[in-house]
């Protein structure tokens, strides 16, 4: 897991609190993985876990939302500046084919750009529907349309209302825990509980599995979101 000081190519406000940052960084990042990022010395103490939005092998980009001190600093970074990247970290979404739905809420849409692109490239015959839920403003929808077969957008409502789990062989989700829980319940009732994969988020300190800060309860005991995850079978996390 390399730690590199990377040059920022671009760092632009997409909408409201959402930003897209692209940095120079040779990488083999895969769908669903994340980096620990920092752009400061010792304060804040912790780096910030941010999932990979996209990669071309030479650059990596991140869609992030300003929620606190660290992401505020990120938002102020300029092209040509530097950030420290540790990663890619964590596991990936499973390499599956067929009829696939990806359900993202808020900044939880971030991993699905690369995930849709990667799965489409591996399995061109697959059909990928992207469900994107936003609280006040949709973003990057045109970009997501290029990555998937169909994009369904909800603003201000519940994106989980838009999906019929029975139509899909596999369902991936990332977003607020309550959204993922509701989706799991909906899948379970449709007899599709086994088809759901969730990408969990948690506060992290080390990011590599050493500190037990990001533990998540699962049906197979405590798991480390950073190392064992962030992607877990939905049933293991929400089927307790």
């Amino acid at each position: 897991m390399p730690r590199v000081c990377s040059k920022i190519f671009s760092n632009e406000q997409v909408s409201g609190d959402f930003y897209l940052m692209k940095a120079e960084c040779p990488n083999d990042a895969r769908m669903g993985q994340f980096y620990m990022i920092r752009a400061w010395e010792t304060y804040p103490v912790l780096s910030r876990p941010v999932s990979v939005f996209d990669t071309d092998g030479k650059t990596v980009s991140f869609l992030y939302k300003v929620v606190g001190k660290g992401t505020e600093i990120f938002a102020g970074l300029k092209a040509g500046g530097e950030i420290t990247l540790e990663g890619p970290l964590g596991n990936t979404f499973p390499d599956l084919s067929g009829k696939i739905a990806m359900v993202g809420g808020g900044v939880g849409i971030a991993p699905f750009y690369l995930t849709a692109r990667e799965l489409k490239a591996r399995h061109p015959e697959s059909r990928i529907d992207l469900y994107l839920g936003f609280s006040d403003q949709a973003l990057l929808v045109d970009d997501y349309r290029k990555a998937a077969d169909n994009v369904i957008v909800d603003v201000g409502g519940f994106i989980t209302d838009s999906i019929d789990p029975a139509l899909y062989e596999h369902i991936f989700t990332c977003g607020p825990e309550i959204m993922m829980r509701v989706l799991y319940e909906k899948c379970r009732r449709a007899g599709a509980g086994d088809r759901l994969y969730v990408s969990m988020e948690n506060r992290m300190a080390c990011g590599v599995g050493a500190c037990f800060v990001c533990s998540c309860k699962t049906s197979k005991g405590n798991k480390k979101v950073c190392k064992d995850g962030p992607v877990f079978p939905g049933k293991e996390v929400f089927g307790l």
């Binding site: 897991m1 730690r3 920092r38 010395e41 010792t42 304060y43 804040p44 103490v45 912790l46 780096s47 001190k69 540790e86 506060r203 992290m204 300190a205 080390c206 590599v208 599995g209 050493a210 500190c211 037990f212 800060v213 990001c214 533990s215 309860k217 005991g221 405590n222 190392k227």
Partner: protein, 301 residues
């Protein structure tokens, strides 16, 4: 040994006096994939308890100005699983293997220490900053006489080198350090985290399920340094100093305050291999001053 960083701690040879602190480095495996951990003087294992623990509910980490509060709650696989799954691997490394043991009752401490008697390790670090469930959750390490009783009873059964890790929440850190020495500890380590708090003002509730959590990081360094200085002056057994060390300058301050070994915890979250920078910087400092061995500056202040 002619290396300027070579350090003897209670008869145990450290190639350098820099150790990763318990709870911040797991059992070493994860960091071993990131940097050459055999360059370290040693590692202190994740705090073990007799039986496995799932740890605390709710938020486990919270940042504060130059520091970090944690409430992990000693999530660990238990002593037996550690012995089965991790111990041989750690013993295979060229560094000092420090195993950290906690307990929530006297019986648990004793049984844990007895189990560890039968295996190879270099130092048993006894964490006395745990709540005693049979005494209303009062931390074993706050009152000198309560802590003395734990150290005395563990010393009676423990056949390994015994280092007692002190809580800065102790009523009297100097008398606690002296009690450890009187009860036969081979060394002491300090400080563990400071009891601290954060409040979510929107929810009007504590951030942590347990209300209080342990503060670490650069925020505590000056207080930790003062406590190490006081404790080191009060005892003749060696001291492992820690609390907010993130640079070689910090490490040298602790050595000058009287620490024989320093531990780095929260600093590893700033940069996983920060301990290696501390080692290199300390060596360069000693070389630049023409100091033959780090012991020459130990306790010099």
């Amino acid at each position: 040994m002619s290396d300027c960083l070579y350090t003897d701690f209670a008869g145990i040879s450290f190639k350098n006096p820099v150790v990763l602190a318990s709870g911040t480095c797991g059992f070493g495996r994860e960091y071993s994939e990131i940097f050459d951990i055999e360059r370290l003087g040693g590692i202190a294992s994740k705090g073990l308890t007799l039986n496995a623990r799932g740890g605390n509910e709710g938020i486990r980490v919270w940042e504060t100005a130059s520091g970090l509060m944690n409430s992990v709650g000693l999530e660990n696989p238990g002593v037996r699983e550690f012995i089965r799954r991790e111990l041989d691997w750690v013993n295979g490394l060229d560094l000092v293997n420090i195993v950290n043991l906690g307990g929530h009752s006297m019986e648990d401490y004793i049984e844990g220490a007895e189990l560890l008697n039968d295996v190879k390790l270099d130092i048993l670090e006894l964490n006395i900053s745990c709540p005693n469930v049979k005494a209303g959750g009062m931390n074993f390490g706050v009152k000198t006489e309560v802590a003395r009783d734990v150290v005395r009873r563990i010393r009676r059964v423990c056949r390994h080198r015994l280092v007692v890790k002190l809580s800065p929440n102790a009523e009297d850190i100097v008398s606690l350090a002296r009690a450890c020495e009187e009860e036969g500890a081979d060394g002491i380590s300090l400080v563990n985290t400071f009891l601290a708090m954060a409040i979510d003002i929107q929810k009007r509730k504590p951030v942590f399920e347990n209300t209080y959590a342990g503060l670490s990081g650069p925020a505590i360094k000056p207080v930790a340094l003062r406590m190490v200085h006081q404790a080191a002056k009060a005892v003749s057994i060696p001291v492992m100093g820690m609390g907010g060390i993130v640079s070689w300058q910090d490490a040298i301050e602790f050595i000058m305050a009287g620490a024989t070994v320093v531990q780095i915890g929260t600093g590893s979250f700033i940069k996983p291999s920060i301990a290696l920078d501390v080692i290199d910087g300390t060596r360069a400092f000693l070389d630049s001053k023409g100091i033959g061995n780090i012991s020459e500056i130990r306790g010099s202040v």
